[in-house]
């Protein structure tokens, strides 16, 4: 198992570099002027395009550009991200913790409710719970997340004023960033707030995450409900479930221990993909709720052709994806002893 994990970790750098080569290859489809447009936003700057191209070496052959980028990387410098207005590594360090925090808070209700509702639906197949969960899932998935986002924003900010957009309220933000009394330990706002003993900051941060969490839980849970349901239905038909029932075991034990554990494999696959997907940032929710996550930045870097930004972002996401899949593999072995990692 350890050897397996180590081997998987060893290929990490390879994957990361593969991604960067891919991105630089794609660069060949862009003209130097197209990339210079990142810096030129006004007709007043039109005369200076040539200077920009020369300054950043945008007209050099792609392998030369890649080589100089690698040399930079050897010094631990991922380059300057114009869209983040900071160095790329700094940008990832700034935006990722916010997304990670959001993902963790989203993930717990998604898993708990998804598993619970999916199991209920399978056990009570063709009964009210089943129909309700199906209707619920289809209607939630049916609307794009930004529509849910706007609805949530309108009700919970515009109307009730419970869940404002952004990261923190003005007072909390000033206390955290300007008062000098707030120490940063983990960069996860809620955790740092508790470590500082500032419960009101914890609540404030939670209030600001509630909008995107609510939106994405509604949208993402639906899929999990459906997969859990169908996987459970499959397992419930198995002989060993019948045997367990025949032994006279309590129905709850049959469902929880014998059936559900075996139904978890596809669910783990899905949740690991979901987790990695959420970590990559949720562009629409982050944009609508003005949440400073990594997805919003990555999307802007891509649209603006901010090459150092996009490359760093893609590398980072590749690493997260590999780690996410690895975690899923380890989890498979944990729930199903028949699967052995070698």
């Amino acid at each position: 198992m350890t050897a397996y994990v180590a081997r998987r970790l060893l290929i990490l750098p390879l994957v990361a570099f593969g991604v960067t080569i891919l991105i630089f290859a794609l660069l060949q489809f862009l003209t130097p002027e197209e990339r210079a447009a990142l810096f030129i936003t006004d007709p007043r700057q039109f005369g200076q395009i040539q200077g920009i191209i020369r300054k950043y070496g945008l007209d050099q052959p792609v392998h030369v550009q890649y080589w100089s980028w690698l040399k930079q990387l050897a010094h631990g410098d991922f380059g300057w991200s114009q869209t983040a207005r900071m160095r790329t590594a700094e940008a990832i360090g700034a935006f990722f913790p916010a997304t990670l925090e959001l993902t963790i808070y989203m993930f717990i209700p998604i898993i708990l409710t998804g598993l619970w509702l999916g199991t209920k639906a399978a056990v009570h197949k063709d009964r009210f719970v089943d129909h309700f969960s199906r209707f619920f899932a289809i209607s939630l998935r049916g609307l794009p997340s930004f529509v849910w986002g706007l609805i949530v924003l309108m009700i919970f900010y515009g109307w009730l004023n419970w869940f404002p957009p952004g990261r923190l309220s003005l007072e909390a933000d000033q206390f955290v960033h300007l008062s000098g009394e707030f120490r940063v330990y983990t960069r996860l706002m809620t955790v740092d707030a508790l470590l500082n003993g500032q419960f009101w900051i914890f609540l404030d941060a939670l209030r600001h995450m509630a909008g995107p969490i609510l939106t994405l839980v509604l949208v993402e849970m639906a899929l999990l409900v459906r997969i859990t349901r169908s996987s459970m239905l499959e397992v419930l038909r198995q002989d060993y479930v019948r045997t367990a029932r025949a032994k006279g075991l309590d129905e709850d034990v049959v469902i929880m221990k014998h059936a559900r554990r075996n139904a978890l494999i596809p669910v783990i696959t899905l949740t690991s993909l979901l987790f990695v997907g959420l970590l990559g940032g949720v562009v629409l929710a982050e944009t609508i709720f003005n949440f400073p996550g990594i997805g919003k930045w990555g999307a802007e870097a891509a649209v603006q052709l901010d090459v150092p930004g996009v490359t760093g972002f893609a590398m980072f996401i590749a690493i997260v994806t590999v780690l996410g899949n690895l975690a899923a593999d380890v989890l498979y072995a944990a729930v199903d002893p028949r699967i052995r990692l070698q």
């Binding site: 002027e33 706007l150 515009g158 009730l160 960033h177």
Partner: protein
């Protein structure tokens, strides 16, 4: 894709409008929220806070006259009258501040003004600030404004064509700007009428000690090469820290959330500001901005003209419309299109399936389009009725704008007559086909393109114009490569002077006319002469003359002079607007919230 986007847009709009119907819990007589803090929510964050680098309204709007100040400033709502701030008087010929030949300006520097770091401002700081602005000169920055006005219009940058620093550029600047006692004396290469106006915006004074202490340029010739055009924005010392003389100090710029916080400068050289803090927040989407305004979490928000209805009628919110702004929008003909790998001109010949590269060099074609473009309808549809129709480069309200200047009347018959005259009648008989591009997302430009297409195609079935939106990173290189046949762009004033409009729009070596391939020796001479003329009456006549030529030659279809509007809580007091302000929120020094 397009339909999908439009549908999404419609949905967002409908939802936003529906909001007005939702009864807010925080409606009615709301107590003033955050009474000491002005909160401004903008679409975009600053690019940099270094005055020698910033050349976008979001950046300059944050620091100018808040953190940093200039030698002279605009007098109230006037963009052509000045009051001294860091100087003690506005130079004039009468007070001896401007020499008789119009070349030498003497600014007496105010004594006892303290920078935020506690040091005292001197004439040496002023000279250093001007030199630093001119000579660090990052690409796509504003250095050219002072370089060309002080060292002559031929000096637009500090580097030669190979990107090398010009060896004597430091000496030129050092000779032109001199400290004499408590005064800074600037000698221009040639008399330049707009110079005072330029100084009102661009003579931004920074603390030399502060810059040097933080590892920045020390002002010496020997070290300039190291600090000229640095690779990254953050390499310029004042990128994210500052020491100015203004009523507010930079407290924090959080680039992660796009939040800039300014704190009152209690040892300001005038009475301290009434506000304790000014906070600029970046919120890209309109819906959260609008809700923040409604809930009192924001005091002023950015609103697009298209979103104005959704921001109207919110209790406790005030909209002030028709704010003067110095801006000209236009559609440009390309008189000499680059045919190489150019898909915008079809076959490249006048055979009904394309246009030749010099298609628009025939003035009759240009006049025909001028007769076709319904500018009143354009103002109604693209600007919701809030703009003036344009008749030349110089915007309404500026010296040189001629309200009686002629322009083409909307006439189908005259357009047909002009088309029939163009290209010896071939343009009419064979027809043409080309692509009209706009940068996607710009609704105004899209509307103009669509209107031109419809009007032309209704005249003759052989006329075909394809309208296509492309993202900015594709639009720009096509523009620069002279591959756009016919395109829309706009210009906002760098300084409130007609030269900043007549030059770019009409002079053959300048921003627009150059790439457009428009060259008229008479125009070039007039633009140069008008820039040097100090007699306002004579200047005005020259610009009137230029307008006549802009009408006669019509290389450019002038469309509108837009006006702006501001959306703010009605508890914002002391707000006023000047056309030269970078944004609509006014001058925070004079604002209070009660």
């Amino acid at each position: 894709m397009n339909l999908k986007r439009q549908l999404l847009g419609l949905l967002v709009f409908a939802l936003a409008v529906a909001l007005v119907g939702i009864p807010g819990s925080a409606r009615g007589q709301q107590p003033v929220k955050n009474p000491d803090t002005l909160i401004i929510q903008q679409i975009g964050d600053s690019e940099t806070l270094d005055p020698s680098q910033a050349y976008d309204t979001a950046s300059s709007g944050v620091f100018l006259w808040n953190i940093y100040e200039t030698l002279i400033f605009f007098d109230g709502i006037r963009s052509d009258r000045y009051v001294p701030i860091l100087a003690t008087e506005v130079p004039s010929v009468a007070n001896g501040g401007i020499s008789k030949d119009g070349r030498t300006y003497t600014f007496k520097i105010r004594q006892g003004v303290k920078f935020h770091d506690g040091s005292t401002m001197t004439a040496e700081d002023v000279k250093y600030s001007l030199m630093r602005f001119m000579l660090t000169d990052p690409d796509a920055g504003p250095a050219w404004i002072l370089l060309s006005s002080v060292l002559g219009s031929e000096v637009q940058t500090t580097r030669d064509d190979n990107g090398k620093l010009i060896p004597d550029i430091w000496d030129q600047a050092n000779r032109a700007i001199q400290v004499k006692g408590n005064a800074v004396v600037i000698t221009l290469k040639r008399p330049y009428a707009p110079f005072l106006n330029i100084m009102a915006t661009w003579s931004i004074v920074v603390s030399k000690n502060f810059v040097v202490r933080n590892g920045g340029w020390n002002g010496a010739k020997a070290t300039l090469a190291k600090y000229n055009n640095p690779p990254n924005a953050e390499d310029l010392t004042l990128f994210s820290k500052s020491s100015g003389t203004g009523p507010f100090k930079l407290e924090a710029w959080d680039r992660k959330t796009g939040t800039t916080t300014l704190l009152r400068n209690d040892s300001y050289w005038r009475a301290p500001a009434k506000l304790r803090r000014v906070v600029f927040q970046t919120v890209e989407e309109f819906s959260p901005r609008r809700l923040a305004l409604q809930n009192g979490d924001a005091d002023v928000i950015d609103v697009d003209r298209a979103d104005q209805p959704a921001a109207t009628g919110i209790p406790g919110v005030r909209i002030v419309d028709d704010l003067a702004t110095l801006q000209t929008n236009a559609v440009f003909f390309n008189l000499n299109i680059n045919p190489e790998a150019n898909q915008n001109i079809g076959s490249g010949r006048l055979d009904g399936n394309g246009i030749p590269p010099n298609f628009f060099s025939d003035v009759h074609i240009r006049r025909a389009f001028a007769h076709l473009f319904d500018r009143d309808r354009y103002v109604r549809e693209a600007a919701r009725g809030k703009a003036r129709v344009a008749n030349g480069p110089i915007p309404y309200g500026m010296l040189g704008y001629n309200p009686k200047g002629p322009w083409y009347e909307l006439s189908r018959d005259k357009a047909i007559a002009e088309f029939k005259e163009a290209w010896g009648g071939q343009a009419w008989d064979r027809g043409f086909k080309f692509t009209l591009l706009f940068n996607s997302g710009n609704i105004g430009r899209q509307t103009a393109a669509q209107m031109l297409k419809e009007a032309a195609e209704a005249l003759n079935p052989k006329f075909q114009i394809e309208v296509r939106g492309v993202p900015w990173p594709s639009y720009l290189p096509q523009y620069r490569g002279r591959r756009l046949p016919f395109y829309a762009l706009g210009w906002i004033a760098d300084f409130a002077d007609p030269d900043n409009f007549a030059g770019p729009f009409m002079h053959s070596t300048n921003a627009f006319a150059g790439p457009q391939g428009y060259k008229n020796a008479e125009v070039d001479k007039l633009v140069e002469a008008a820039a040097a003329e100090t007699d306002a009456k004579k200047r005005e006549q020259m610009y009137f003359q230029l307008q006549q030529i802009a009408f006669r030659d019509v290389p450019t279809l002038y469309t509108t002079y837009p006006v702006r509007f501001v959306v703010m809580r009605d508890w914002v007091k002391g707000w006023y607007h000047n056309p030269m302000f970078f944004n609509e929120w006014g001058y925070p020094y004079q604002i209070s919230k009660r």
